[in-house]
Amino acid sequence: MSEVLENLRSRTLSALLLPALSLIAPPASSTEIPAAQKQSDYESMSPQTRAMQDDDSVNPGMFWVLDGEERWGRKDGSSNLSCADCHTSESMRGVAARYPSFEVESQRPIDLQERINICRSRRQNATPFRYESKELLALSAFVAYESRGVPIQITIDERLNPFFDAGRALFETRQGQLNISCAQCHDDNWGKRMAGNIIPQAQPTGYPVYRLEWQELGSLQRRLRNCLFGMRAETYPYGAIEYIELELYMAWRANGLKIETPAVRP
């Protein structure tokens, strides 16, 4: 714990020094995790939790995947179309590894859940699913499951740049009553312990994840809300652009790590 505090203190110090330094050199985010040390949060789990994720007949996240597979072929909306009428499930391989991605019509990045809901409202003419609903989680889990083993590959182009920068800024900005940033835990102090738990790198490789604390599947947005709440910061409403920006930055940060959906996390 004292090590963590010390680190926080040194970060505060560098924050104080930063304006002075920035006159000489552009402020580099020196705290980013080096590529060689980047790892899935699976690595910091107990052997028991890993065993749960490794065996599909033991992984409860598979309930949502199987449910999603069933929904994939179910016709819905006034167009009377199912996902399977337009896409083969095989064509979904690698898709989750490229999200969030830019959506031309709305001129902003969207995540996989929004993509599914856009397909629902524009193609199927059905009502979009509610965030964290069983239906949306099941379909997202099934689509992401198709990308299992595919390395995350996010390219930031000009259109994504402003959103990416906003996401990075959010990740590195102190907020909440505890006045801490995501980066202070997940970039600077990952691998150490906080309240007995190992601080993970926060790599979004397995979403939606089955979280033991939730005893059910949940999205990355739900997880981000948990973190914000823990920082005593105000949470954004589901679907807020701030989450998408954070998701975009985090996915880019996880480039090269493989998709594990449905992951199990403590």
Binding site: S57, V58, F63, E70
Partner: protein
């Protein structure tokens, strides 16, 4: 929604000890929690699990509110003859969910 995931070895030698793994989807609501406006959430748990091997009970378990959602049970039995393993989960309201798996003994 798929209700249960069963893992039984497809083949076994006679007399071999085999591991059986079962996972069933269930909220296992304890009855001790309250919703966000303070109303108690009624208890809803699976209270009994039974495994029958060709009609003979080989494993039984009583479950209580402290058991997590989507209960996972793993146990062992001796592979005596080819046949079917039947699994039954019973909740507080006496609703049952069933699943079965076959095993070939040589």
């Amino acid at each position: 929604m798929a209700r249960a995931l069963i893992n039984v070895p497809r083949k076994a030698r006679r007399g071999e000890i085999v591991e059986i793994k079962t996972l069933v989807s269930h909220p296992m609501e304890t009855g001790y929690r309250r919703d966000n406006i303070g109303n108690p959430i009624p208890r809803d748990i699976i209270s009994r699990f039974v495994c029958m091997y060709n009609g003979t009970e080989v494993f039984r378990a009583d479950l209580f509110p402290a058991v997590a959602a989507n209960p996972f049970l793993s146990f062992f039995t001796v592979a005596t003859e080819s046949g079917t393993l039947e699994f039954q989960w019973t909740d507080d309201q006496d609703n049952t969910q069933t699943a079965s798996a076959s095993i070939e003994v040589e």
